[in-house]
């Protein structure tokens, strides 16, 4: 790959195997979250479900959506979005809780 091509041809092709492993991990985590819901963990059950969902989403972002192979600007974009969403959630709850 020449230097001029650098910005166009982003990264070397990812092998098919990586995606199969990713899929297995996602199915495994789905099995865990469904099983955990059946255990009736009470108050912690939502936290467990959200943690697993976040891990699953991160796996999709990093591997299926190639965030792992993109440059830092893409990751920063996600962090800015999460930051704004955090502010939105935080401000809403400070309003709702003290009403």
């Amino acid at each position: 790959m020449s230097h001029d091509d650098h910005h166009e041809a982003a990264h070397e092709p990812v092998g098919y195997g990586t995606y199969f492993i990713t899929w297995f991990a996602l199915v495994f985590l789905t099995a865990i979250t469904v099983t955990a819901a059946g255990l009736h963990l009470g108050a912690t059950s939502v936290a467990v479900a959200l943690v697993i969902a976040t891990i699953k989403a991160s796996i999709v972002l990093y591997l299926f959506m190639h965030l792992k192979y993109e440059d830092a600007a893409f990751r920063r974009l996600i962090l800015v979005m999460l930051g704004f969403f955090g502010i939105m959630v935080g401000l809403t709850f400070t309003d709702v809780m003290f009403r």
Partner: protein, 273 residues
């Protein structure tokens, strides 16, 4: 593969592999724009998730009771369908990177099939709900406790908006399927053999500029009227350029976001019983 230089406006890259008119486009920019769009999508659903969490905090018990109504088995099947479609989407893009057009088409077809399966399951799920009088604005639902009405309102809105995204994704991927199917994206024809009758007995060959034979064929006989030389540019490894499939990658990103939204919808609506 031959690296014969044919396009008059084309220019060879460092390896002399480029045989087509090369238009410089900002593919990274287009990908970045898609990511910006996806962030607006995430915030669209994010707003609804925020609404969900506020009402869930207020009516925790009602939300638990209402969630019992949802079919966990169908929800789990749909989760697996979407995860599998994400896998085949990623494989379709990887296949184009490896120059395997056939595999890319098959994987795209499976992805579209998964999108349709998801919607068909959703149809049966919602039909059952409607049959039991649970649908937005129904008199039956209006008699439910307040928290349960809110739960179903959020469920139909969020799963509905998500369903529309699945439908849009299916259409988008069908367009991409047709685009990949219509590869080769370039075809060149040469007509040779004026005065072929004088060449009877000679042997056909295609030679490059150094005189090296790229291909040797049949002997010309009196039945031959004309010789056509056609070259098709398939996305084979030697000439594949990532940017040829930039749009497919962008469509793939959209499809994966649809999957991510469902990854959060599924536990929050189906698994909180």
């Amino acid at each position: 593969m031959s690296t014969a230089h044919v396009g008059t406006h084309g220019h060879a890259d460092a390896h002399g592999k480029d045989v087509q008119l090369h238009v410089h486009k900002d593919y990274r920019g287009s990908k970045f724009a898609i990511w910006l769009f996806l962030i607006t999508e995430v915030l669209l659903f994010g707003g609804m998730f925020l609404l969900y969490s506020v009402y869930r905090a207020k009516y925790a018990a009602d939300f638990h009771t209402a969630a019992e109504e949802l079919n966990t088995l169908l929800g789990t099947i749909n989760t697996l369908v979407l995860l599998t479609s994400s896998l085949t989407m990623a494989l379709a893009i990887a296949a184009t990177h490896h120059g395997n057009r056939k595999l890319a088409l098959w994987m795209l077809a499976v992805t579209i099939l998964c999108a349709c399966t998801f919607l068909v399951i959703k149809y049966f799920e919602w039909s059952a709900k409607f049959h039991h009088g649970i649908y937005p604005g129904s008199a039956h639902l209006a008699a439910f406790p307040r928290g349960e009405i809110l739960f179903f309102g959020l469920y139909f809105t969020m799963a509905g908006v998500h369903g529309i995204h699945v439908l849009v994704g299916a259409v988008l991927l069908t367009v991409m399927f047709i685009r990949v199917l219509n590869q080769p994206n370039a075809k060149l024809s040469f007509v040779a053999g004026l005065g072929l009758q004088h060449a009877e007995g000679a042997r056909l060959a295609i030679i490059d500029e150094n005189g090296t034979a790229l291909w040797k064929g049949e002997t010309i006989d009196s039945t031959m009227q004309r010789i056509d030389v056609k070259t098709k540019f398939w996305p084979v490894k030697s000439r594949f350029k990532v940017e040829d499939f930039n749009q497919l990658e962008n469509a793939g990103l959209y499809w994966h976001i649809v999957d991510i939204v469902w990854i959060f919808l599924f536990p929050l609506f189906y698994l909180i019983t």
